[in-house]
């Protein structure tokens, strides 16, 4: 059987752990780990867990079941009303490129909402679609076998699965996707869900050394797991973002010596700013991580057999290392869209809040949609700035909106207005965030205690609340979500439970929102309104 817990909803009540302790585990205060593929003997227990979850976050055997509770924003119930009268719902052709979380979720929602036409999923990975978050957590520790990451219930979606097939081009006018083997697949409507891949170590020769790894796919996880299970030498983690920090946490759990090197001032500083990053740094050090911030890795050295041997750091240190995990973030999979005339570039694929993709001129298309890590969309709560999120919850929510809009006429379209919610599990702590923490100038600890590693940090931008981050305090997250939605004033200065003696906002020290388009520039040509065109100019990075 297949289990998916929507960890963006989960508030750590632990009822599932009582009901099915062999499937769900909560090793710390509220970080939930679970086995997504428990044996059938566990069925009764899992169903009890599902029934008992106070926020109904547990999905069994499907990815697009009933969504419980009030929606995060008001929209009508799925309707089966016919669309423009062209029979698209009955006999249209939908193609989804990218058969991972966003793609599969969209497919499930399309079927749930009554799309009866033909559905094709194209994915370049040969496996059945799987879930990535466990790869840097339960899978890496060895608690959970790799095969268990498979996403639920795909067979009865009645879809054509072109797995192990790479899309290499898109003909927007001709409505065709080109595959690597030369085949072409026609569509009426297309969903782009090609996500992102791990940014490789920039020095190719060094990246090729045996022992230098990235972590994005099931293959990556297999190889890394093997290395962590067999060796006992030092692991070097390059880049202390969420993935890097989670890998470091796993290494410590396995008793492996680990060095973390980050160019920035603190772990997680890129996502959460320097203040909360500083707390993450303390936590890492308490757990025995050898942490080097404001430091870069200037070179990786191999031995005669091409095995990684050492790393040289900008602070002058040379370390003997057995494995290096490159955690330098992700590169969006837009290569196949080159020349297609869409607003696709290193920033991802630009689309509107209804997931409709912009063409390169910034004009919205009708039949091409995007969702998941690939999409870059404007969010009204953030001054309509375009956000590109690498969040599980965003992929799921946005895919639902995209799927709905693909089969609805324009009077029934939904907007993707959900606030971003993210979670990470590291060093026994459940870190969650709502909103956009980098959209901030100040931050304050509003509840709990940093010393106890249980607190709520609230972020503000120009006097209003824009984000909140909890460390083992997930039950309060919803409250701050509402504050963000209501543009509540920052700092929050009301009396409340668990309020620290002093509430002092400090500069958030978030990274500058750098121009994402580094390395690519758009130039506009033409004078007549009918002639003006944008063109993408590539510059070497």
């Amino acid at each position: 059987m297949r289990v998916v817990v929507d960890l963006t909803r989960c508030q750590g009540y632990g009822q599932c752990v009582f009901a099915a302790p062999d499937v769900f585990a909560m090793p710390g205060q509220e970080s939930l780990l679970y086995d997504p593929d428990p044996s059938d003997e566990q069925r009764e227990h899992v169903l009890r867990a599902q029934a008992a979850c106070p926020v109904q976050a547990i999905h069994v055997d499907r990815l697009a079941g009933h969504v419980p509770g009030p929606r995060p924003y008001p929209y009508p119930a799925p309707d089966s009303a016919p669309d423009r009268g062209d029979g698209f719902r009955r006999s249209g052709r939908i193609v989804i490129v990218g058969a991972s979380l966003a793609g599969v979720r969209a497919a499930a929602v399309l079927r749930r909402d009554g799309f009866a036409g033909s559905l094709t999923l194209i994915g370049d990975e040969p496996h059945e679609p799987y879930d990535r978050p466990p790869l840097s957590k339960q899978v890496l520790t060895g608690r959970m076998p790799l095969e268990h990451t498979t996403l639920p219930r795909l067979r009865d979606l009645d879809a054509e699965w072109l797995l192990g097939q790479r899309a290499t081009g898109l003909d927007v006018a001709g409505k065709r996707v080109r595959l690597a083997d030369g085949r072409e697949v026609e569509f009426d409507r297309l969903l782009i869900a090609t996500g992102a891949r791990a940014r490789p170590w920039p020095n190719e020769a060094e990246a090729a050394l045996d022992g230098v790894r990235v972590l994005r796919t099931i293959e990556d996880a297999t190889l890394l797991r093997r290395r962590l299970a067999s060796g006992n030498g030092r692991v070097l983690v390059i880049g202390a973002g969420f993935t890097g920090s989670e890998v470091a946490s796993v290494c410590r759990e396995l008793g492996r010596p680990v060095t973390v090197v980050d160019r920035g001032p603190a772990p997680l500083a890129g996502a959460l700013g320097r203040v909360i990053g500083g707390i993450a740094a303390q936590i890492q050090r308490e757990h025995g991580v050898d942490l080097h911030c404001d430091t870069t890795v200037i070179g990786l050295d191999g031995d005669a057999e091409g095995r990684l041997r050492a790393a040289r750091l900008s602070d002058g240190t040379t370390l003997e290392v057995e494995t290096a995990v490159v955690g330098l973030g992700a590169v969006r999979n837009v290569d196949w869209l080159e020349g297609a005339g869409l607003a696709a570039g290193v920033w991802g694929v630009g689309c509107d809040a209804g997931c409709r993709v912009f063409d390169i001129n910034g004009v919205v298309t009708d039949d091409i949609f995007a969702a998941g890590d690939i999409a870059r969309f404007p969010h009204p709560a953030y001054e309509f700035q375009f956000l590109a999120l690498e969040h599980w919850g965003n992929a799921v929510a946005q895919a639902e909106i995209a799927a709905h809009n693909m089969v609805s006429d324009q009077t029934r379209r939904w907007a993707h207005l959900a606030l971003p919610v993210f979670w990470s599990s590291q060093f026994g702590i459940n870190i969650k965030s709502v909103g956009v923490p980098t959209f901030a100038d100040e931050v304050v600890i509003a509840q709990g205690s940093v010393a106890e590693r249980r607190f709520v940090a609230v972020y503000g931008y120009r006097g209003r609340v824009t984000a909140a981050v909890t460390f083992d305090q997930a039950m309060w997250l919803e409250f701050y979500q509402r504050m963000i939605e209501r543009a509540a004033p920052f700092p929050p200065d009301f009396a409340m439970v668990g309020r620290p003696a002093e509430m002092l906002p400090v500069p958030a020290e978030v990274p500058p929102r750098v121009a994402v388009a580094q390395g690519a520039t758009v130039v506009v040509t033409g004078h007549d309104p009918g002639e003006r065109r944008a063109t993408l100019v590539r510059r070497p990075q």
């Binding site: 752990v17 009582f18 509840q447 919803e478 439970v497």
Partner: protein, 409 residues
């Protein structure tokens, strides 16, 4: 004012048997002001407030030292964690949880299954030569006290004394309880306290596998729990897990007898008890309302401002019948996809004992359904207890034709 009268009518004992139409009326004003109290009854608003840090569970009378007026705390002891706020609430609850459930104590609740099911079997065996019983006194009452005694590690020979104290404390929860009842409560409280203290002392010297031993020998890794806090916690478990469970079992039997098709289905498919109990917690919740929370600051909600210092009542049972959240809410339907009910509350005070309550109720209702032959209600509605917050029948007389042996024998 017509509005005032809705809440007054809800409080009125005459409406105890079926408050649900009144709740529907109440929901028309999601946040209703009645005599300086703010009564919240719609799903979204109740959930919001359960997760609002501007709301306190501390009671003035606890702070003032006058002692709580109900059985949730013992005289002379610090208030139990149900009436405390973070960080104290979190600390005490965390230490208690450490010894109640996974990851440190994974088998504690499940380990009670055998003993509980024996008690259930024994109680129903006792019906063999009868055709009429009171589900409350003859069945539901004995179970939760035994469960807590087993949990805490109260020796079987002391259970009868425990039972007397529990009854005295629970009786006092009733708002109309007279002075004599209150006096009995204080006496029982003092005796219970002395008893628990002695037991804790004994367990400290010689720990056995029970919860009290675990608490008294806790190493403080998750924060310290003082002896007084420990005693408060132990008595909270007794009180919070008593009346509530009695009512859920009784409401369960009553609801099944009112929906014979469901009773039939349960008889045929014991697995149905799982969704059935969840639906019961929504449809006939033992805790109808959380009578007393306090606003620490002004709170804007549903177009109303609840002012700082105001008392807030969260009507869980009304929220659980809110058609804005549960379609066709007045229908008893265990197949409902959405089980996001508020029967155990929500947020940081979410019922600590929920896993045990579920286990007890499932065992109890499965056994009643499978063993009683042709059960029927003697009176519908049955007589109710006075208490509006912890609502349940005082007696539930049923008749049946016979008692089948326990399944599998």
């Amino acid at each position: 004012m017509a509005e005032t009268s809705v809440f007054a009518r809800i409080l009125d004992y005459a409406n105890r048997a079926d408050p649900y139409p009144l709740y529907a009326e109440l929901r028309e004003t999601p946040v209703l002001r009645v005599d300086g109290r703010y009564v919240v009854s719609t799903y979204r608003e109740v959930v919001e407030l359960l997760h609002d840090p501007r709301i306190s569970s501390i009671r003035e009378e606890d702070v003032a030292g006058g002692g709580p007026s109900d059985g949730e705390s013992l005289p002379g002891l610090p208030p139990a964690f149900i009436r405390r706020d973070p960080p104290d609430h979190d600390r005490v609850r965390r230490v208690a949880m450490r010894h109640f459930g996974p990851p440190r104590s994974p088998g504690r609740v499940e380990g009670m299954r055998g003993a509980l099911s024996e008690i259930v079997t024994g109680l129903i065996d006792g019906f063999a030569d009868r055709t009429r019983v009171d589900v409350v006194d003859d069945f539901a009452y004995p179970l939760p006290v035994t469960a807590i005694c087993r949990l805490l590690g109260v020796p079987t020979e002391d259970e009868p004394r425990f039972r007397v104290w529990a009854a005295a404390l629970v009786e006092a929860i009733d708002p109309r309880a007279g002075e004599a009842t209150q006096r009995r409560r204080v006496e029982a409280g003092l005796e219970l306290r002395a008893y628990l203290d002695e037991l804790a002392e004994a367990r400290l010297r010689q720990p056995s596998g029970d919860l009290l031993s675990a608490l008294v020998t806790d190493d403080g890794v998750e924060g310290a729990m003082s002896r007084d806090e420990l005693l408060s916690t132990a008595s909270l478990l007794l009180v919070a897990g008593h009346e509530t469970t009695v009512n859920l079992i009784t409401n369960g039997m009553l609801t099944l007898l009112r929906h014979p098709a469901e009773l039939d289905r349960l008889r045929r498919d014991p697995g149905r008890v799982v969704p059935l109990v969840e639906e019961l917690l929504r449809y006939e919740p033992p805790v109808q309302m959380l009578p007393q929370r306090t606003a620490l600051d002004d709170i804007e909600i549903a177009g109303t401002t609840i002012p700082k210092g105001a008392t807030i009542t969260l009507v869980l049972a009304a929220a659980d019948r809110d058609p804005g959240h549960f379609p066709d809410p007045d229908r008893f339907d265990p197949d409902r996809a959405d089980k996001e009910h508020l029967g155990f509350g929500g947020g940081i005070h979410f019922c600590f004992g929920a896993p045990l309550a579920r286990l007890e109720t499932r065992l109890a209702l499965s056994a009643l359904a499978s063993r009683l032959e042709n059960p029927r209600l003697v009176a519908d509605p049955p007589p109710y207890r006075e208490n509006v917050a912890l609502r349940g029948p005082r007696h539930l007389l049923i008749e049946f034709d016979g008692v089948a042996p326990p399944p599998g024998t």
